[in-house]
């Protein structure tokens, strides 16, 4: 069994795969260790049948019961995907508003080759130049709370440096969308494939976004949301599209792996091409890395459990940790727990795990006039940057902005309609439906059964339209990942403990953005008597507000130019190690105003260029 490689990467998602792709193509020997299984798209699978299925019970499966001692929600039901961890085996625990600990399904991306890029909706936005310089942007502003300004950070690399890596990621991963009307510069031009036709229900979102731009005075218009779904034959990955590319629209999208491999997971876009091309690349699925050891400044061994649970190790000249922010930080902390020297090197300044971030997110939902076949859709059709401009932020007294886009595939299929009825997070699926009462547009409530069930279907089926925002979250040092003092996983290793709160300025921002999302719907369709506005809001309220992460798990090992203020240097190398890099979302000093995957991938291509100078 081979144990020595130029590069060992832990995790096969957005943070690790771009590096594997680049270094393998350059002739380096690369090994990826991945905890999850390798599930292939149909064109690679035996019998041409993928392990990913279009089956509504695969994304949020049958009921399981939480059975973990020491958490307040022991006995609760949960419903997870076939590639999410079993919560009883490997929980994430968060501290709730009553200071009691609870396990949550939030914050896990996916345990499968490709990681979160298998299950994501594929929204592939760039961050804006302002997103990367929020300290400078807020310096001297009197309208922003002191602590928000004080904690804000600029990224150590400007947008101009990241731009060409964005372009490269868009090319190699395979993204469709439109560039016009985005406020982000595209210094090397347009790298998108053409989008598919939008779902007709999105016309209201488009009209509303156009009207909102006018109302705000910027006249910024919407664009087609960049999505990681190929719509044309894609040479870098060897993927070809069906005769009619529109058949990619199925609404079995968000939280489903794509059996056809048209969705651009890192497996189909970045890893399987280097397997096909015969480079010195190996991936070991079903192998969980348990600890790193070091010899001075060098990480000398990566220990993992093979599929049988037998401990093995490999050695890499360079080691990249990229198994999603929470798990990466946990792995570094567990390694430190076994070695004071490792701990001192990775966390000498006490910052590891701190400044953990997700996003401020939320939105608005309405029943729109008419009825549409939502079962033929991708995750989002239109997006607008009209709430990400410097002028907007100053006018609203906000420290940072975000993107707004409409969701198209939500509640498109029957079971997803029922289980997400009245629910906005993964911890509360089915609850409102099981409760059985339907609040009608006319203000009365009917039991949701028999005739009442028909009423509910008539009102809601094919009529729901939601508009979401994804915006920067304020930096707070105490928002952090720790090792839980008592709860352990099935291997006896301490699990990750998520401790975070929403800053008052986050709440203000979410209120502003939720209202703008509401405005999109009101301006887009509000004059029609059959329009019914269901509500708007940010995710800071509700029982599970402190668990909410949108599976955007960022920060905790931020990069920077000052070793006293960051965990990683500008090349994502841990300051006091010579060969240890962290390249998943953990490196982000701020969370950005959009879904993070495209930026994680772009940055990993940047780091890959640096790594090539070292092996």
């Amino acid at each position: 069994m081979r144990t020595q490689f130029d590069l060992v990467i832990i995790g096969s998602g957005a943070g690790g795969s771009p590096i594997a792709n680049r270094l393998a193509k350059a002739g380096k020997s690369v090994l990826i260790l991945e905890k999850g299984p390798l599930f292939r798209p149909s064109y690679q699978a035996p019998g041409r049948r993928s392990e990913f299925r279009r089956d509504e019970l695969i994304s949020d499966g049958p009921e399981k019961i939480l059975n973990i001692d020491g958490v307040a929600n022991k006995g609760a039901s949960y419903y997870s995907s076939h590639v999410e961890p079993d919560l009883n085996d490997e929980p994430h625990v968060y501290r709730g508003p009553d200071s009691a600990d609870r396990a949550t399904i939030e914050g896990y991306t996916a345990q499968v080759v490709g990681g979160g890029t298998q299950l994501y909706g594929g929204v592939s936005l760039r961050y804006t130049p302002t997103d990367l310089r929020l300290k400078s942007f807020n310096d001297g502003r009197a309208d922003i709370p002191d602590d928000v300004r004080r904690e804000a950070r600029d990224w150590p690399i400007p947008y101009d440096v990241l731009d060409r890596y964005y372009a490269e990621a868009e090319d190699l991963v395979g993204i469709n969308g439109t560039r016009a009307n985005q406020i982000k510069p595209f210094l090397t031009g347009d790298h998108y494939q053409p989008p598919l036709s939008p779902n007709p229900i999105s016309q209201y979102a488009k009209a509303g976004m156009e009207a909102l731009g006018k109302q705000l005075g910027s006249n910024i218009e919407p664009y087609r949301t960049p999505l990681a779904v190929i719509t044309r034959d894609h040479a870098p990955s060897y993927r070809t599209v069906p005769k009619d590319p529109e058949t990619a629209k199925t609404s079995y999208v968000n939280r489903y792996g794509d059996p056809l491999g048209l969705k651009s997971s890192t497996w189909v876009a970045l890893l399987s091409p280097i397997v096909k091309e015969g480079h010195d690349f190996e991936i070991r699925p079903n192998c969980i890395v348990t600890r790193l050891t070091n010899d001075g400044a060098k990480v000398n061994r990566v220990y993992y459990l093979d599929p049988a649970g037998t401990e093995r190790f490999v050695e890499g000249k360079l080691v990249v940790v990229a198994c999603s922010a929470i798990e990466s930080i946990r792995l570094l902390m567990l390694s430190g727990a076994e070695s004071p020297d490792f701990r001192q090197r990775i966390n000498g300044n006490g910052l590891l795990g701190h400044y953990f971030l997700t996003h401020c997110f939320g939105g608005a939902r309405a029943l729109v006039p008419g009825r549409f076949d939502k079962s033929k859709a991708l995750d989002a059709d239109y997006a607008t940057d009209c709430c990400a401009t410097d002028d907007f932020l100053k006018a609203q007294g906000l420290w940072a902005g975000g993107a707004i886009y409409n969701n198209t595939s939500d509640q498109a299929l029957p079971l997803s309609m029922f289980r997400t009825f009245g629910s906005t997070d993964l911890d509360s699926l089915w609850k409102a439906f099981m409760g059985g009462m339907y609040p009608q547009p006319d203000g009365t409530t009917v039991p949701m059964r028999g005739e009442g069930f028909v009423t509910y279907l008539d009102q809601e089926f094919g009529r729901g339209l939601s508009v979401s925002f994804m915006a920067n979250q304020v930096l707070q040092r105490d928002n952090r990942i720790e090792l839980h003092p008592t709860v352990k996983d099935k291997w006896g290793r301490r699990v990750a403990y998520v401790i975070k709160t929403w800053h008052p300025h986050d709440k203000k921002l979410m209120d502003v953005f939720a209202n703008q999302c509401g405005n999109v719907l009101r301006l887009g369709a509000g004059n029609d008597p059959s329009f019914f506005f269901e509500g708007q809001g940010g995710i800071y309220s509700g029982d599970t507000a402190l668990a909410r992460m949108a599976n955007h798990i960022l920060g905790g090992a931020r990069f920077g130019t000052d070793p006293n203020d960051s965990v990683l240097d500008t090349n994502n190398r841990a300051w006091n190690f010579d060969n240890l890099y962290v390249t998943d979302g953990a490196f982000m000093p701020t969370s950005g105003g959009g879904n993070p995957t495209m930026t994680i991938e772009a940055n990993s291509f940047r780091v890959a260029d640096h790594l090539l100078t070292r092996v």
Binding site: L38, R49, E63, D86, S251, A308, F372, P447, F461, K490
Partner: protein, 347 residues
């Protein structure tokens, strides 16, 4: 019958089982034990366009180096003929896992045991077991779209049909008419009408619940046994002259309303319900609501939504007319595999 083995490589077996079986401690411990043996889509070749088979993937787990031979003996193959599982290796090293994939027709249930180093052994992972008339216990599995009752008795199934029709939309006149036409159409299409198992004009949701309770949600089976017993008692008390499942719709409507009341309030107590046996009737309705719609609208492989009747109801009900042409607003067939759907690329 001769066994049809579907070739799989070591990686394929590990992809199916590592997450659930690999752990510290007891080698027979697992997560989601109901997943074993794995009832999967058929991946052999050629693929029959009618897609009649599942693959059933047997996985046996031992500590590495402790077991030399594992076979499986079962009613899916010629009885008394042990089919060997192959040792699964990881990069040339022993994993302790043994695997075998065989093609088994959909709609069947089978019993089996492992033969581990010569010794008959029940599947230590799969909790589904049956006791035969000779008193011997065997492990059991069933494939997709299995239409016979499995864990609920006939009187329980009949009562459940009456309860789920209180929840689902199919008893509204318009829906009843649709389902009659739909089943007439299916019967004409498919001479083998036994495939459409139904006690009533439903979409088979109760059959799906029976399967869910037999496998994925076994932990809810006792809720059903206990509550259906209470319901039977209450209804007999309310009308002693008829079988409870034969009572009019009004009895079930009243019962549903009574059960939905907050049980903590003594004024809401249902006469005849044993609160010592089941304290919280609303909780049973809470589970039943999720199960009823899951059975009615999940993929037909789960043995409800028979002939995709639940989906057809929605796709007939919601349509638009453009330029004189009627087109559905729930075109579910376009995304799905043949023969159920019409997608050319998704198998």
């Amino acid at each position: 019958m001769p066994v049809r083995i579907v070739e799989k490589d070591d990686q394929d077996f590990l992809n199916l089982c590592t997450k659930y079986l690999s752990r510290a401690g007891d080698p027979s411990a697992s997560a989601e034990a109901w997943r074993f043996p794995v009832i999967d889509v058929f991946r052999g070749s050629p693929l029959d366009p009618n897609d009649p088979d599942n693959e059933v993937v047997f996985i046996y787990k031992a500590a590495p180096g402790t077991t030399t031979q594992v076979g499986v003996l079962g009613s899916f193959a010629t009885l008394y003929q042990t089919v060997p599982l192959k040792p699964v290796r990881f990069l040339g090293e022993d994993t302790g896992y043994f695997g075998l994939s065989v093609a088994v027709p959909k709609g069947q249930a089978h019993i089996y045991q492992y033969v581990v180093d010569g010794k008959l052994t029940l599947d230590p992972i799969n909790p589904q077991r049956v006791v035969l008339e000779n008193g011997k216990t065997w492990s059991r599995f069933f494939t997709d779209s299995y239409l016979q009752p499995m864990v609920l008795e006939l009187w329980e199934l009949k009562l459940l049909y009456r309860l789920t029709e209180q929840i689902l939309p199919f008893r509204v006149a318009e829906a009843e008419l649709f389902l009659q036409q739909f089943y007439n159409y299916l019967d004409r299409q498919d001479k083998d009408a036994s495939k459409v198992y139904r006690l009533d004009e439903s979409v088979g949701e109760v059959n799906a619940i029976d399967k869910l309770l037999a496998r994925e949600e076994r932990h809810r089976l006792s809720d059903y046994h206990v509550c259906l017993k209470q319901i039977d008692t209450v209804l007999r008390k309310r009308n002693s002259s008829m079988e409870p499942s034969e009572l009019s719709k009004e009895f079930f409507n009243d019962l549903y309303n009574d059960m939905a009341q907050d049980a903590a309030n003594p004024a809401n107590r249902i006469d005849g319900w044993d609160y010592g046996a089941y304290a919280n009737p609303p909780f049973f309705l809470y589970i039943l609501r999720r199960h009823a719609v899951t059975g009615a609208f999940a993929h037909p492989k789960y043995a409800g939504n028979v002939g995709a009747a639940g989906w057809a109801y929605l796709s007939e009900k919601y349509f638009e007319v453009k330029d004189g042409q009627r087109s559905t607003l729930f075109d579910w067939r376009a995304a799905l595999e043949k023969p159920l759907g019409t997608n050319e690329d998704y198998l």
